[in-house]
């Protein structure tokens, strides 16, 4: 019973966070500086999610050759910058990781 209450509270809370600005839109006048921040949301939030995945191994910063995901990720970044193609980027990242693992083994 307690578990279901907890899930409901957490579900409502999560929904409230996601609904917050969507619900408030039109009912308040956000300051100009706030609107200036919004174009940076996708890049800032998604890079924040991605960078630790590439740079950290078990919470430690690893920049050397043993961090295969970092180098595979960098290869994917180059491919994404040049070709701007989603599947090509993902495919080359996985291919780079596979080759690095083969080389390392």
């Amino acid at each position: 019973m307690n578990l279901w209450v907890l899930m409901l509270v957490c579900g409502l809370l999560t929904f409230a966070i996601r609904y917050s600005f969507i619900a408030a839109e039109g009912h308040y006048q956000p300051p100009a500086w706030f609107r200036h921040l919004l174009p940076f949301v996708p890049i800032a939030a998604l890079t924040a999610l991605t960078a630790p995945e590439l740079l950290l191994m078990q919470g430690e910063l690893v920049l050397g050759g043993s961090n295969q995901r970092l180098w595979a990720g960098l290869a994917a970044i180059v491919v994404a910058a040049v070709w701007r193609n989603t599947l090509l980027t993902i495919g080359s990242g996985f291919l780079a990781l596979f080759l690095l693992q083969r080389l390392g083994a």
């Binding site: 578990l3 279901w4 209450v5 907890l6 899930m7 509270v9 957490c10 579900g11 809370l13 999560t14 929904f15 966070i17 996601r18 609904y19 917050s20 600005f21 969507i22 619900a23 408030a24 839109e25 039109g26 500086w33 200036h36 921040l37 919004l38 174009p39 940076f40 949301v41 996708p42 890049i43 800032a44 939030a45 998604l46 890079t47 924040a48 999610l49 991605t50 960078a51 630790p52 995945e53 590439l54 950290l56 919470g59 910063l61 995901r69 595979a72 990720g73 994917a76 970044i77 994404a80 910058a81 701007r84 193609n85 989603t86 599947l87 980027t89 993902i90 990242g93 996985f94 990781l97």
Partner: protein
């Protein structure tokens, strides 16, 4: 663009992310059962809470018998960054009826937002003829369905599934594919570098608070750069 096309565009865009999300869903199902959560409740949590990392945390907190308020507070902190997505899409959804807004808010996860946002920015935002909501619904629904199936697999088949195939690498790779082509100015590049560096430095902070602070740092640096240029 027609509604159906917009829906399928969103659905297609989220597919590569499903590759990375599915193993997490399976592992969540396994972790939830190990924490003593009954199968039905473990499944229901994927619909009621519907937030990957928050569900992992919640399963662990339930397993360790943490008090309700502390658990809910932790889940709130983990999901704080979703408020940024809410602010980001709010102007595009302003003209919609409330039921649409609530549905899209419920479906607004990292992956659904990431998959949809490049298309939303192209598809004439803030106009009534926009199909932004159908794109977002397509990516949100795709992720939701995939998450339910993956959770079910974890609950039913459990630890027998080889979860560690390295498929989770699809998540950062897809984010790279989404973010890199969007970096069209020095301010956007600076925002990315600031957010990435801050996230790495603050990665050890509990409840993923570092991610939220890192995103804010990226916003601040980006806005400061444009102000200087203007």
């Amino acid at each position: 663009m027609k509604q159906k096309q917009a829906f399928y565009l969103g659905l297609r865009s989220v597919m590569p992310l499903l590759l990375g999300v599915a193993p997490f869903g399976v592992i969540y199902g396994v972790v939830a059962l190990q924490s003593g959560i009954p199968p039905l409740a473990a499944m229901a949590m994927s619909s009621i809470v519907f937030a990957g990392s928050a569900q992992f945390l919640l399963a662990q907190l339930v397993g360790s018998g943490a008090p309700l308020l502390l658990s809910a507070g932790a889940v709130g902190l983990v999901n704080l960054r979703h408020a940024l997505y809410s602010a980001s899409v709010a102007p595009m959804l302003a003209h919609l009826p409330r039921r649409w807004k609530m549905l899209l808010a419920y479906l607004l996860t990292d992956e659904a937002y990431a998959a949809a946002i490049p298309h939303l920015l192209v598809d004439a935002p803030e106009s009534r003829s926009s199909h932004a909501h159908w794109i977002l619904f397509g990516s949100g629904f795709g992720l939701w369905a995939g998450w339910q199936v993956a959770t079910l697999a974890g609950v039913l088949i459990g630890a027998q599934l080889p979860a560690d195939l390295g498929l989770d690498f699809a998540l950062p790779l897809t984010f790279i594919a989404i973010v890199v082509p969007m970096i069209a100015s020095r301010a956007l590049l600076a925002a990315a570098l600031a957010a990435g560096a801050t996230a790495v430095v603050l990665a050890a902070l509990p409840y993923k608070v570092g991610l939220f602070i890192a995103a804010l740092a990226g916003l601040a640096v980006g806005a400061a750069m444009t102000r200087k240029a203007a």
